[in-house]
């Protein structure tokens, strides 16, 4: 059952198109992330759902009710901002209860709800503190509680962790996900951080230049990207130019080196130029295990990255990165030597431009 729907939504600012033909159905309780670089239209889309921007074209609905032209205050949508946006003149409890007071709920109900929200964010002892007395992480938890206190239909989060340091970001994102699942609330999360999107979301919408590049689960987005942008934006990727040899068998060549791919190539002809992508971690040395593709690779460089060792290899005239997990007994090849490397058919992705 669709809870939030965006149909053919576009937003133009003069001649500039910020969002183009955006279509998305979000189920109740689903956590969807908009992922993309700065200026890709993800925040504009979120702001259209919140009501801070009105779409130039298209319809936005919640539970089938058209909210496209409703004022933000009429939408019952909770929003968490990157800069927290807590009211500096109010205590934590007053901030959380603000939306309920606007709704003229009974004072006893407000007190109960504020207590409940403070318990959820583990800040019961900070009820009487002012925002300036809190850390960044605490302020964002209060902002989350304030947005959730009004029991919104949809929770919108606009890069809520960007202003926090790395450690707090990781712990708070787990907290956000856990609270969202506990309350079963529909959430839309805007981020440019692929790790955040991959770890939090039920589904990810990859956006580029105002358009949707790909929609899918984190597993699909990472393992089966359908466009070059999507593949490059999420994770590290080796790109190469290839040529289709046998569309029926999924065979292609990169610099004359033959590869087999699990991607359906039946719509292409022999000799077609294609973009080929292989993730670094999908390569391994053929001495360990042999997969569908076994090719000779010259070892050009080795970089130690902590848990991972990145090996730069050259297949034909194309350079690839190969990642292998670090362990104390790892035997690394010599720089300049030629080794056989292998990857599965599924690892060889053929992408649309």
């Amino acid at each position: 059952m669709t809870h939030l729907a965006l149909k053919n939504v576009s937003k133009h600012f003069g001649d500039f198109t910020a969002v183009k033909d955006f279509n998305l159905d979000v189920r109740k309780g689903e956590f969807v992330s908009f992922l993309g670089p700065s200026g890709c239209g993800k925040t504009t889309t979120l702001r259209m759902i919140a009501g801070f921007e009105i779409p130039t074209e298209g319809v936005i609905s919640i539970e089938g009710i058209d909210i496209t032209n409703k004022a933000p205050s009429q939408r019952n949508v909770g929003m968490v901002f990157q800069s927290y946006a807590l009211f500096p003149n109010m205590t934590v409890a007053q901030n959380i209860g603000f939306g309920l007071r606007i709704r003229k709920e009974k004072e006893s109900d407000i007190t109960d709800r504020v207590k409940e929200m403070l318990a959820i964010i583990n800040l019961e002892k900070k009820a009487d503190s002012y925002p300036y007395q809190l850390s960044g992480g605490q302020m964002q938890r209060v902002a989350l509680a304030r947005a959730l206190a009004i029991r919104p239909e949809v929770l919108l989060l606009d890069e809520p962790l960007s202003a926090l340091d790395a450690k707090i970001r990781v712990s708070l994102r787990a907290e956000i996900r856990s609270i969202q699942q506990k309350l079963g609330i529909t959430a839309i999360y805007v981020t440019h951080d692929q790790e955040e999107a991959l770890s939090l979301s039920d589904r990810i919408v990859v956006m580029n230049m105002g358009e949707m590049e790909q929609v899918g689960t984190p597993f699909e987005i990472y393992n089966f990207p359908t466009t070059v942008f999507s593949a490059n934006f999420v994770g590290t990727l080796n790109n190469a130019n290839g040529e289709v040899v046998d569309p029926a068998n999924g065979t292609l060549t990169v610099d004359g080196v033959k590869f087999e791919s699990a991607t359906d190539l039946k719509s292409r002809k022999k000799g077609d130029k294609v973009k080929v992508a292989i993730r670094p971690e999908r390569f391994s040395f053929a001495s360990e295990i042999r997969k569908a593709n076994v090719v000779d690779a010259k070892i050009e460089n080795i970089t130690f990255l902590g848990s991972v060792v990145r090996i730069q290899i050259k297949i034909g005239n194309t350079r690839f990165n190969m990642d292998t997990f670090n362990n104390p007994f790892l035997e690394l090849p010599k720089i300049g030597s030629t080794e056989q490397v292998t990857c599965s058919k599924e690892a060889v992705l053929v992408l649309d431009e």
Partner: protein
């Protein structure tokens, strides 16, 4: 020790300029105070103060000017806060024009302003192209004159009040706070009264103090509109007596300082709150 070390670190010429500045401001004040204490020959005392405060005209004009100042401050806040807010939120391109308008009172003398007001509002307000009178001339009745003088004072106080409010709004993220309040269901009135105003309290108080100081001591508008205000009273007193005006001037300085102290007291935590945002 720490304080001494800090004082020693201040450059010599800074001290010289500070002392010269302090003397420039304090010497006339001390001289006025000294003069006001010498009403009786060979006696240092507060007779001038007693005489000045005993005059029923003093209390009447002072209270009247205070009421005018209060009205001016309220009307200015009602006009300027939503204007400055809307310019920050939706019309940033209008900011330069509005800033230019707010500087006009520095260029246009009060005498021009008051003659303009008298000229326009000493005739009845009529429905255009008819003889039907909507309002009799504002200068012909007391409330009408009070409205005129408050409007005039609003213009005189505009540069100070607008700048204070605008600076106050710069210290809080007006746009995001507004959007946060909107997403929680607040309407415009609630946003301004419960979110914006409390967060620019310090700026409002500064603007209010400056407006208060201008209104209480203002002479031109009050004289030409013929209202019993404190400014003209002080002026007249100065023409006929020597010691009482000095006493009243010093007393009004003290009142201003008390007001400034109160602002510090009331807004002590504001800077912290806004800064942490």
């Amino acid at each position: 020790m720490n304080l001494l070390a800090r004082i020693r670190r201040i450059p010599f010429w800074s001290w010289i300029w500070f002392i010269l500045g302090a003397l420039y401001f304090l010497l006339p004040l001390l001289a006025t105070f000294n003069f006001s204490l010498r009403m009786e020959r060979d006696v240092i005392g507060f007779k001038a103060y007693i005489r000045a405060f005993e005059d029923p005209e003093f209390l009447k004009t002072f209270l009247y000017s205070n009421v005018l100042a209060l009205m001016t401050i309220i009307a200015s806040i009602i006009l300027i806060v939503p204007t400055a807010y809307w310019i920050r939120l939706r019309l940033p391109e209008a900011r330069r024009i509005v800033e230019f308008i707010t500087l006009l009172p520095f260029v246009v003398p009060a005498i021009i302003l008051v003659f303009g007001l008298i000229r326009i509002y000493s005739s009845p307000v009529k429905i255009p192209f008819s003889d039907i009178t909507l309002l009799k001339p504002l200068t012909t009745f007391e409330v009408g004159t009070d409205i005129l003088i408050v409007a005039g004072y609003m213009v005189l106080g505009l540069p100070y009040m607008y700048r204070s409010v605008d600076t106050g709004m710069r210290t809080v993220d007006v746009r995001t706070l507004t959007e946060a309040a909107q997403s929680l269901g607040a309407n415009w009135f609630t946003i301004i009264t419960r979110v914006i105003l409390p967060n620019i309290r310090a700026a409002l108080l500064s603007g209010a103090l400056l407006t208060f100081a201008i209104v209480v001591g203002e002479v031109t508008l009050a004289s030409f509109l013929g209202v019993p205000a404190f400014g003209p009273y002080l002026f007249l007193l100065g023409q006929h007596r020597a010691y009482e005006p000095a006493a009243l001037s010093f007393a009004s300085f003290l009142m201003t300082w008390v007001a400034m102290g109160l602002i510090q007291l009331f807004t002590g935590g504001q800077g912290q709150a806004a800064g942490a945002h």
